[in-house]
């Protein structure tokens, strides 16, 4: 089948894959919210506009924190940073993972051992050990910094996964043939191996995207997150610090967690949809 046709077919299946549509719709919705939400926020971010905690009302769409900050403002800005983290963090992690995974898996031997060693080191050093030192030195930390940090520390997962996958491909015939035909390493990797695990790479990226978001949430929650702006993890952090549960300020800690779950969940569902689109075999299941 020619390239042109392939494209159409993918598009065709993309359009009639409900998983993909639902997932994408949810994510898209939140993206819109993140982009346009701030302009609807009545109050500036993190400013102490109200006397104290207020339940949601026409005045404060999503209520206010115990300190009288507008939750809506925090929420929409938080959404924004969530996507930044996912995109930047997940992106960097996936790229590094591909690089390491492909070469390790394909080359094998000492290259593999070396890359493996590097992976292991990153893997075994609890990532927030590095973060701690960073935190200690940087009095001001932004979302972008956090994203980059996550990207630089969370790639081993992808690397290992891709490496394993590459392994199984390397022992397949077409790779042998390619080798016999004297193709160069890069060529084989990107012409033979990569295309054969496109959907897998996609899956990896989206998992990383979601993973980065969850990672950030955890870091923020233990108080190692950004010191400026807003993030959903920070909201939860402050909510627990402010005993929001016991005082029943549900509007403070429910939305951020829900949003994260919804976004990441939607991403995963979307991802499986894509998987089916890319992989005809799955369609027939």
């Amino acid at each position: 089948m020619s390239e042109e046709k392939k494209k159409n077919e993918l598009l065709f299946f993309a359009l009639r894959n409900s998983k993909l549509k639902i997932g994408a719709a949810i994510v898209f919705l939140f993206v819109l919210f993140a982009i346009f939400g701030p302009s609807f926020a009545k109050y500036p971010l993190n400013e102490f506009v109200a006397g104290g905690p207020n339940p949601p009302s026409a005045d404060y769409y999503m209520g206010t924190t115990a300190y009288g900050q507008d939750v809506f403002a925090q929420f929409v800005h938080g959404l924004g940073s969530t996507f930044i983290v996912g995109l930047v963090g997940g992106g960097i992690a996936t790229l590094l993972g591909m690089l390491v995974g492909f070469f390790g898996g394909y080359k094998g031997g000492w290259v593999d051992e070396l890359l493996n060693g590097v992976t292991n080191i990153i893997l075994v050093i609890p990532t927030f050990a590095l973060l701690l030192i960073m935190v200690a030195y940087l009095k001001l930390r932004g979302i972008l910094l956090e994203s980059i940090f996550i990207g630089l520390t969370c790639w081993p997962w992808a690397a290992r996964a891709i490496r394993a996958q590459t392994f199984s491909l390397v022992s397949r015939e077409f790779v042998d043939l390619a080798k016999l035909s004297g193709m160069g390493t890069l060529k084989i990797i990107f012409r033979e191996i990569a295309p054969n695990m496109m959907s897998y790479l996609f899956m990896t990226f989206i998992l990383q995207f979601g993973g980065a978001i969850l990672n950030a949430a955890t870091l923020d929650f233990v108080g190692l997150g950004p010191t400026q702006g807003a993030s959903l993890g920070l909201m939860m952090n402050w909510a627990t610090i402010g005993s929001a549960l016991l005082l029943g300020y549900w509007w403070w800690f429910v939305p951020p967690g829900l949003a994260i779950t919804a976004i990441v969940g939607a991403l995963y569902i979307m991802n499986v949809g894509l998987d089916e689109v890319f992989n005809p075999k799955l369609r027939e299941m």
């Binding site: 609890p126 050990a129 290992r160 996964a161 549960l245």
Partner: protein, 331 residues
Amino acid sequence: MKRYFLRKLLIYLLTFFIAVTIDWMIPRFMPGDPVLNMLAKAGSVHAEAQEVMYGYLTTAFGLDLPIWQQYLNFWNALFHGDLGVSVLQFPRPVVDVIKSAIPFDLLLLIPAIVLSWIAGNKFGAFAARSKRMDNTLLPVGYILTATPYMWLGILLGWVFAIILKIIPISGAFSYALKPALTWTFVLSVLEHWILPFASLFIVMFGGWAIGMRNMIIYELEADYAHYLEALGAPKRLIRRYAYNNALLPQLSGLALKLGVIVAGAMATEIVFSYPGIGYLILMAIQNSDYFLLQGCFLFIIIGVLLANFIIDIVFILIDPRTRLGMQGGAS
């Protein structure tokens, strides 16, 4: 094979060496002076005494030595199981502090990880059986794995501890008890254990289920599966093969997740004030007890490395492809 193992071992030792070196840097890289922090915490009224104390403790922590010597001493002490003294829990040795936290982690993490892995794989394989189940059951998996550990923890605690008041929200066992091997105590331990365990288990379960589901679908489309079908082999057999083969990537996933899980466990332990390593780390961070921090990280490093090594070996034992592929690489 032997040669291969030796090489692997070497790699791991190297990794260990580097990781530990980085770990060693933590307290020394931190701005400020651990001893000063400690004195600041001591909050003694009289500065004069503090200055004496300062000199005294600096020697006690061996921070007055040249850096290279400190490094050598660190390794030396390491092999004698001495990780220095905790600042937060002065004068308690870091090793003691960690020792008393480890059981709670084993209690929490091992069952959570292993059970969720097994259950998740089964569920994923089950979900992959038919389109209908796939579409109905799996979204559950996605939602679960997409839930932030601590948020689930908060909600669980909220529902069971605060609204229903049927499970204690914090600690590892009732404050009215002394640790002793009695039923009362064991029950109390279980009752405090269940919520943190649940929030870890549930989230991980979703992850494994999805992983397995994706893997098994690939396997079911593999050539050997088609061949068996052509020879009229029953679905049962084919599924079994697919499942077993799909377990391999899942297994390597297990090794990889450990790092992440530690973080997740940390968040969970914080929510429930469960006195494991994660909680200890938070304590150490908040009180800038970098010696304790160092110890905790060392523990994690060793744990993760060990797990990786074991899983590597298991892999070699059960996956001929890897084994032979690697031998090829080795020779």
